[in-house]
Symmetry: C2
Subunit: 225 residues, 2 copies
Amino acid sequence: MKIAVLGTGTVGQAIAARLSGLGHDVTLGTRDPQATLARTEPDGMGNPPLSAWAAEHGEVRLATFSDATAGAELVVNATSGSGALPALEQAGADNLAGKVLIDISNPLDFSKGFPPTLFVKDTDSLGEQIQRAFPGARVVKTLNTLNANLMVNPKELGADSSVFVSGDDAAAKTTVIELLQSFGHTDVIDLGDISTARGTEMLLPVWLRLMGALGTSAFNFKIVR
Amino acid sequence: MKIAVLGTGTVGQAIAARLSGLGHDVTLGTRDPQATLARTEPDGMGNPPLSAWAAEHGEVRLATFSDATAGAELVVNATSGSGALPALEQAGADNLAGKVLIDISNPLDFSKGFPPTLFVKDTDSLGEQIQRAFPGARVVKTLNTLNANLMVNPKELGADSSVFVSGDDAAAKTTVIELLQSFGHTDVIDLGDISTARGTEMLLPVWLRLMGALGTSAFNFKIVR
């Protein structure tokens, strides 16, 4: 499948590499491809510049948000929470229309330090904001509840764990569930419509506290029943 | 141990019965014991009146919030979220001083229908509100992330699952962890200070959506790592 992954951070890199490895035709979308590749310093989180990653993943093209989305059948939003709506604006409503849009972003607000708070919650969610802003896109919220490596390599945990999907379009969710299964996810729970993204986005505070308590981000929720 | 369980709903009944069965000396606290026992109609959730339960649990005494708390070494807040601070006011700051106070309540606001929203979240929590209102109490937030039966009988799930503790007093948490282990909990995760209750209280929205998606409340979170 021709897939655009928007966002060149840890999540975007992990998703793009895994999809490419599974045989998909992947384009990584960024605001300014030349500026992104020109960076030689680690980012604010200490991650290596994209150029190093790109050198090892020559099969993944880099393009503007708009070009990447225009050429794709399915789009993955792997931007930061605050970057999501601006990136999707650049991707373009027309380019997104009719396409499955996997939203992984979390509405984290780091402006008051760590742990971050959520800039939308409880009575609304970032997933819903995106669906409202791009009514032609078929938004499915998923994978925002585990770290980038486990998103695409869940079997590394050694025990079965769960991921969730939220979205208004049943066929889009079926497509996404198949993609998640191709990553190795064996317990995908369909929570319902896009408003259920409120629940998974509000998992972030306990996820962040668990990372602190456990001293690792290599964990995931399993819904035991 | 002499234990007061404040609140006569499903959670209070389950906790009181289990503690009593484990040999503890349990008093159930309520605003007006005579009025509580005089009720013959099911409550708003369809649960049978307390008198029926009390007839089967003669070893559990019923007392006012104040009397129950005054005579206890450890106190369990099993009231509803909106009822928590008023009930604890009646229990009395002097009666709570120096005692471990297990807080199970969730800040659910049903005023706009189902699913409920949270009346405190993200930058504060009900657990913190209780700790601030009763600085002499040694508040430990726990058990608010699973149904009443599984709180006290976690082994009924058939697979290992997790519960969390949040609190400022390390010795109080040790006492609570031992009590949780006596219920059958094998994976108790200490998240840190009482502010980490924000995380577990914010689990409620996804818990409620999971209950809808799975068609049962007989599930729990396991932190796989």
